[in-house]
């Protein structure tokens, strides 16, 4: 589309991928990369078979098993027969339709949102979909990436396109610099707390501002990952030298890399382009965050207290908060740092990359996990795991009393055997604190990797800014 009017990055990527648009119809949008996993795909493949359809572009489709996989010894058979069937089904579907599959014994296996960027499959300017709501993670590299349902997975498999209504755009600008001890996870939890869990509904969010620009590549992924927790299907950050450095040399990075970078440099939002909505925040206001409720917007600074339902503006919210506190077994006014923990989980597509593990290991080094706490670290991918082991991080964790596991989603959603018992309280680096998310009756508090490691050692939440690091 030839136009000289200034455009947002979203508009540039969207316009470039329009196959067909008609008034009063949804747009047919071309999809550059389709990521597939075992839980949301079997019914889609079955649909293709029933309709006698093929996968249109198997070479633009990549699959792995992550949600359901055991994180213990991979040489042993999978004990849960239904989990095994789901993974076997994916393997067979990939074979039948000619799709690349990173199986459990593949060095590249891992959480789908960790391996995409890591392998260089994710690239600026692409449209990327996956039957998983955290697909926005890939937006950190300047892609338009969003989660889809299983019917849409089938649609993309069959046509390599998706029917979409154009979302509105929202800019979340964060000026300044995050202070010491405050991480990307704290930033995104803070933003969700500010705009609410439905503030982004109907929008594609672009994170901008100096605080976002100064984030490293993996930190950007943490921010974009949780866009859905603010209701936004897609979240993105403009590519820049941080992005280009990150992607250079990765297995699937473009062969003529410099030419690709030249193209990518045209992607960022033009000066003068407008968003449907813009909000501005100051990085200095962000402190280490801890969620106290049963949705990610129910969050407070680590120095804060659990609020009271009476503090809420309307009846629906009062009821929701009262229910959350009851489920979480917390009293209004309780100091966040007094909350004691039973379990700690470091992992998930939000925080299981090498920098996350480094941050957690730095805290854990030379300490021991509190006796009443069970703590585990689950790397996001086989490659992250090997890198961490090469750096000796596994030893730091094991010496401190953390369990060190194989890659997968694990206790982020507890479909595999890693789960909370009823009533157990967990500090988790994942992205959802919904009721029962980590196991029926389990209570989840979302935090950054460093805060999670510190909580494991202290047995309760502590302000990471006061931590004494040992070398």
């Amino acid at each position: 589309m030839a136009t000289t009017a200034p455009r947002t990055m979203f508009a540039k990527i969207w316009d470039h991928h329009v196959v067909h648009a008609e008034e009063g119809q949804q747009t047919i949008l071309y999809i550059d990369l389709h990521l597939v996993h075992e839980v949301t795909s079997p019914q889609a493949f079955e649909g293709l078979r029933l309709a006698g359809r093929k996968v249109r572009r198997p070479q633009l489709t990549v699959a792995t098993a992550d949600h359901n996989v055991p994180t213990t010894d991979r040489s042993l058979p999978i004990l849960d027969p239904i989990s095994k069937q789901q993974i076997d089904t994916l393997r067979e579907n990939c074979r039948q339709f000619g799709i690349r599959f990173y199986d459990l014994d593949d060095a590249n296996q891992g959480i789908v949102h960790v391996i995409g960027p890591e392998l260089g499959l994710t690239q600026p300017g692409m449209t990327i979909v996956c039957g998983d709501s955290h697909t926005a993670t890939h937006g950190a590299l300047g892609a338009l990436a969003f989660g889809i349902g299983t019917s849409e997975v089938e649609h993309v498999l069959a046509s390599q396109t998706l029917l979409q209504s154009r979302p509105k755009t929202m800019e979340l600008r964060v000026d300044g610099r995050l202070s010491g001890g405050v991480t990307a996870k704290d930033l995104i939890l803070y933003l969700i707390g500010e705009i609410s869990t439905q503030g982004g509904t109907g929008y594609c969010v672009e994170y901008t501002g100096s605080a976002v620009r100064s984030l490293g590549m993996e930190e950007r992924m943490t921010v974009c990952n949780m866009s859905i927790e603010a209701g936004a299907r897609a979240g993105m950050i403009a590519p820049d030298d941080t992005t280009y450095e990150y992607l250079r040399g990765r297995p699937f990075a473009p062969r003529d890399y410099d030419a690709a970078v030249e193209r990518w440099r045209k992607l960022p939002t033009d000066p003068g382009a407008t968003y449907d909505k813009s909000r501005v925040f100051a990085a200095a206001d962000v402190q280490p965050q801890v969620t106290w409720g049963t949705n990610p917007g129910q969050v407070a600074p680590v120095t804060g207290r659990v609020p009271s339902p009476d503090d809420m503006a309307d009846r629906a919210e009062r009821k929701h908060v009262a229910g959350a506190l009851e489920y979480m077994d917390l009293k209004p006014g309780c100091a966040i740092q007094e909350i004691a923990l039973d379990r700690v989980f470091i992992g998930s597509c939000t925080n299981s990359r090498i920098e996350d593990l480094r941050a957690a290991a730095a805290v854990a080094r030379g300490y021991k996990v509190a006796t009443r706490v069970g703590a585990m670290v689950v790397p996001g991918s086989g490659l992250v795991k090997r890198q961490a082991e090469a750096e000796g991080l596994d030893r730091v964790f094991k010496d401190a009393g953390f369990e060190w596991r194989e890659a997968g989603c694990s206790m982020c959603l507890a479909m595999n055997p890693d789960k909370l018992e009823p009533g157990e309280r967990c500090a988790s680096t994942s992205n959802r604190n919904f009721e029962g998310r980590q196991g029926k009756g389990g209570r989840t508090h979302l935090v950054s990797p460093a805060m999670a490691a510190a909580a494991a050692i202290a047995g309760h939440f502590v302000d990471i800014r006061q931590w004494e690091y040992k070398t």
Binding site: Q85, S159, Q160, Q198, E435, K440
Partner: protein
């Protein structure tokens, strides 16, 4: 897909905000590889006690709500995971219409793909429907042709649905079939963008 034109049914009111898809269909039921049979797991962890018997406190277990097919809820219904198992479970249980002040995007979209109609109404109107639903076995009629909700007492509320989605639901059209009518355009796009060397 079954066309949806008009539906009359019993209303089940669920006075909860931010009902997430982990509650609608908990993860232990996502391992199935079929599309059907999820209804008996709908709201499982709320609906059943630990010993597997129905939880008498849970809204949908009220004897008066047996056979409900219209679900009334509060804001941000269906937030969280993209799992289409959530609409599958609601549909399989018997729901055909969902009414709330707002729905999460992916969930909203998934409903249409399964012949279910999610209706967004402003909060005061939803309050009004909650008040009415409090009376014994309140029934509503939802007409997609006229885009109106009505009841026997003369209630008549307009609602809006994107024209394309409305059209697909009214005629029970299959999205993939529709898109495949444009297959030549997809091929042209792929060629123009050098995506496929040997189309």
């Amino acid at each position: 897909m079954q066309p949806f034109k008009k539906h009359t049914g019993l209303v089940a009111a669920m006075d909860r905000a931010n009902v997430d898809t982990d509650q609608i269909i908990p993860k232990q039921f996502l391992k199935r590889i079929e599309r059907t049979g999820f209804g008996r797991f709908l709201f499982h962890d709320w609906r059943f006690l630990d010993d597997g018997t129905p939880n008498p406190e849970f809204e949908l277990n009220h004897p008066d709500l047996r056979g409900a097919s219209i679900l009334l809820a509060r804001r941000n219904f269906g937030c969280g995971s993209s799992r289409e198992h959530a609409p599958w479970a609601l549909h399989d249980y018997g729901f055909r219409v969902l009414v709330a002040p707002s729905f999460a995007d992916i969930f909203y979209n998934n409903c249409f793909k399964n012949g279910m109609l999610p209706i967004r109404l402003d909060e005061p109107t939803v309050d009004e429907l909650f008040a009415r639903a409090a009376s014994h076995r309140h029934r509503l009629t939802v007409c997609l042709e006229t885009c109106r909700i009505s009841d026997e007492t003369g209630l008549s509320i307009p609602f809006e649905v994107e024209p394309f989605r409305r059209h697909c639901l009214l005629d029970g059209l299959d999205d993939i079939g529709l898109t495949m009518e444009h297959e030549h355009r997809i091929a042209v796009y792929e060629k123009a963008h050098g995506l496929i060397s040997n189309p």
